[in-house]
Symmetry: C3
Subunit: 173 residues, 3 copies
């Protein structure tokens, strides 16, 4: 059975994006890739280009740093959707001083209603030493809470390490 | 079968405390909550108030930043006990320049003798980049060693991510 | 069946080295320990001495900070080998401004050809907040990519927490 909602968690370079792309491309297309990254500097532009080059052909790409619910609503009408990633979306919302609980509630209300399978990628950032920076601590709280809320309604939650999945919920692929 | 000693590990906002509370409230009460947090500033006071507000009614709360063994000894005479958390207890000991190996040994000797089930919460802090701060590195070492020593004698060790448990030892709840 | 290639991942003080040593000493000797650590300061010297003191007798120790492929090639002719750890090897290569992709390719080409079982230890460093330091971010990328590449060809990949193994690939010991 196809999972309607999958959350792929993991650290930096854990293979999250590759796993999420495989989960989506195992389904019939067309596939939409919602990229939440904003290129503020050369390093970020380079990371985005690298991610695009690594992707198999056949994806529609939608760049949407803020209005994730809006982008998901229109993309899921066409077919399976990959959101890469929740962490950058949260970062963008925090930098723009948006109302995070309101944006989170809007996303959580939308997700169960979408007509196509959705795979969300999130960075696990809470397993290091408590950051000295207050904004970083707030960010960890927002990210952890969002992951928990999504995990509660997801069919499948994977934790990636070294490119390999551990199933926290549902079946490992 | 009821686990006598459970260790719940996880990162920031991984759902550790909620899981630990559920494990204790699934048992017959009265339940004691040993809070090791010390409110040094407004942010910390806010986090403590939030944790208290999230808890179901029916808990006895014992605030004990240092003498964890003493608090456990008296609390476990009444019924199941939750310790939240080992990480702040270690922080408090380090700030007070206590003898960590001696305090650890005292706790480890006591745990197997307690008359009621105990659930201990610990923050996993060792999965980020090596901290530049020497005290933070020492703290990681103390925390990791304490978790290993407790995991060795525990019946159940859970690793939490996104609110979901992975069983490292014993059965997932 | 004996695993030919094992990767043991984990955070600081997660029990990685002890697990890796146990996996090697469960096999017939002689055993070689390839230490990639370089003692730049007193703290590091102390950590190295502690690791050596914790090890059971019967190990040959080879100190090799850079030429890991060379050391592996000669050590594996004698019997099972433990490499502790990949993370310090990468650090040494980066500090010496070596060509990381070339060194990685050399190691990956060698590993499947070795005549004896090999256990590699790696530090999981990508699960904290994104480091502000650019070198630290590059290091996380190199480490994550190396772990993924090795995990792909390994028979067994373990993720350690609190001294306990989660099997990401193959069987838990």
């Amino acid at each position: 059975m196809t999972a309607r909602l999958t959350l792929v968690l993991g650290g930096a370079r854990s293979g999250k994006s590759a796993m999420a792309e495989r989960l989506v491309t195992d389904l019939p297309g067309p596939w939409t890739y919602i990229a939440t990254a904003q290129a503020f500097d050369a390093e970020m532009r380079q990371r985005i280009r690298q991610h695009q080059a690594d992707r198999v052909p056949g994806w529609q790409t939608l760049e949407e740093p803020m209005d994730l619910a809006g982008a998901l609503g229109s993309a899921a009408a066409a077919g399976p959707v990959l959101v890469d990633c929740l962490t950058l979306w949260l970062t963008n919302l925090m930098l723009a001083e948006r109302d995070i609980p309101a944006e989170r509630a809007r996303l959580l209300a939308l997700l169960p209603t979408l007509p196509a399978p959705v795979v969300l990628v999130g960075n696990e950032v809470g397993l290091g030493i408590v950051p000295e920076n207050k904004l970083a601590r707030e960010f960890r709280d927002h990210a952890g809470r969002l992951h928990q809320d999504i995990a509660r309604i997801a069919d499948r939650v994977l934790f990636m390490a070294a490119g390999l999945p551990l199933a926290l919920k549902g079946e490992a692929p």
